[in-house]
């Protein structure tokens, strides 16, 4: 019996090493009389080899922290906040804030403040979305002029501002800008890391609905169009930390910012 005709599928299967020995021999016998096809097959095999040569080194790269965090984050996503705190092993301060998320002890005052802060994460996320893609003018005043930046924004906001140092987390201050916030001036500080990922800290004055200085010493979390925002308020100022990162990746940064800004 003569062999079945050689199809193009056979040729691909030959190039990919997916033919059984008998069929492979038939294809190879056929190729001997078809130099053009043989050249194409050699080229296809070489393509596979070049793909491996070019991209196999990726396999040896360390897994980026943000991908690890995404996978690790799966554990606490469906759980209550209390369990999340245990997993994250954060300090007692943060633990108290998280359990407060459950909304028990200070429900009264914090609800009023929370209402006043309803717009905060959205404003912060919009400011983040508007300014972080900027290549040439991401900030008004650069970090090389940090003293001037802080003095200027402190004056406009009417309070001595502090700029958190996030170097330990790999983020460095790029600079800041003045913004129009809900009830007057606001400030945005921008940071980036070696991978070029940017995060912003938004600061503005905040009054609760009864006019008192807003206080919301627990993290709230919101997501606006793919931007994660942790926000809180203290001593009449509202803070929002925004980044295009999953919640679990941003939480340690929010924790560091909170601790540095705490009086």
């Amino acid at each position: 019996m003569s062999p079945a005709p050689i199809s193009e599928d056979d040729l691909h299967a030959w190039a990919d090493g997916r033919l059984e020995a008998a069929r492979r021999a038939e294809v190879e016998a056929w190729l001997a009389g078809h130099p053009q096809e043989a050249a194409a097959l050699a080229a296809w095999r070489q393509q596979n080899a070049r793909l491996h040569a070019a991209f196999d080194p990726v396999l040896a790269e360390a897994i980026p922290a943000r991908l690890r965090a995404t996978v690790a984050g799966k554990r606490w996503r469906p759980l209550r906040a209390a369990a999340a705190v245990g997993w994250l092993a954060l300090g007692a301060v943060l633990g108290a804030m998280w359990s407060d998320l459950g909304g028990s002890r200070h429900a009264g005052t914090h609800t009023q403040t929370a209402d006043a802060l309803l717009e905060l994460p959205r404003r912060a996320a919009i400011a983040h979305a508007v300014y972080t893609p900027e290549q040439r003018h991401p900030v008004e005043v650069g970090a090389d002029n940090e003293q001037h930046l802080v003095a200027w924004l402190s004056k406009r906001l009417g309070t001595p501002l502090r700029v958190p140092d996030l170097g330990a987390l790999g983020y460095h201050l790029m600079g800041g800008r003045l913004l129009a916030a809900e009830a007057g001036p606001g400030a945005q500080f921008m940071y980036d890391n070696a991978a070029g990922e940017r995060l912003t800290l938004y600061v503005s004055a905040a009054r609760s609905s009864d006019g008192a200085a807003a206080s919301l010493p627990s993290f709230r979390f919101a997501e606006e169009d793919g931007i994660s925002v942790f926000y809180w308020a203290e001593n009449g100022f509202a803070y929002a930390l925004s980044a295009r990162q999953p919640r679990a990746a941003l939480l340690p940064v929010a924790d560091a910012v909170y601790r540095q800004l705490a009086p």
Binding site: E8, D9, H12, A13, A15, D16, R18, A40, A43, W44, Q47, N48, R50, L51, H52, A54, F55, D56, V58, L59, A60, E61, I63, P64, R66, L67, R68, T70, V71, A72, G73, K74, R75, R77, P133, E134, Q135, R136, H137, A195, G196, P246
Partner: protein
């Protein structure tokens, strides 16, 4: 739900495939991250079995969704465009860039098939399931992709260096 270790073990393979698919390290990791998040959100749909192929299927969906979005929004900030042409580097980097450029010059649906078969070493049947097309379509896309890539790479080799232009 797949274990954390099982998921972590798949990340290098996902990153390799995504790097070749997108041609950019940051976009590739974004794609992997979006894939993991989507997979974790939909883990109830996962049936114990081939975790890698399930993740690759998820990545396929995320990838084509992103393509659809990009095509709607062709906006690109003028500030991102380089002012000055960048002088080509020499050596291995050039070869990798030529291959990377040639891959990006392929239509996305052909690129996926070529990479799943040629880089991920999946069978034609697995590839068909991941991309959700009949096996016959896998073969025809593979054929077009290989023919086109061969042409693109040959073109890159015969042109003098100063005429190598990205299309």
């Amino acid at each position: 739900m797949p274990s954390t270790d099982a998921l972590l073990a798949e990340i290098p393979r996902l990153r390799r495939y995504a790097r070749a698919l997108t041609g950019d390290a940051t976009r590739a990791d974004d794609l992997v991250q979006d894939t993991l998040e989507r997979a974790l959100n939909k883990w109830r749909l996962w049936r114990p079995g081939n975790l890698r192929n399930w993740l690759l299927t998820t990545m396929h969906h995320v990838f084509i969704n992103q393509l659809a979005t990009e095509h709607r929004l062709q906006y690109r900030d003028a500030a991102e465009l380089p002012d000055i042409p960048v002088a080509p580097a020499q050596g291995d980097g050039l070869a990798l860039r030529d291959l990377g450029r040639a891959l990006q010059a392929l239509p996305a649906d052909q690129r996926e098939i070529l990479l799943l078969v040629g880089l991920e070493d999946l069978s034609y049947e697995e590839t068909a399931r991941i991309v959700g097309i009949p096996p016959g379509t896998v073969m025809s896309r593979l054929s077009r992709a290989r023919g086109r890539l061969r042409g693109l790479l040959a073109e890159g080799e015969t042109l003098p260096a100063h005429l190598k232009i990205v299309k």
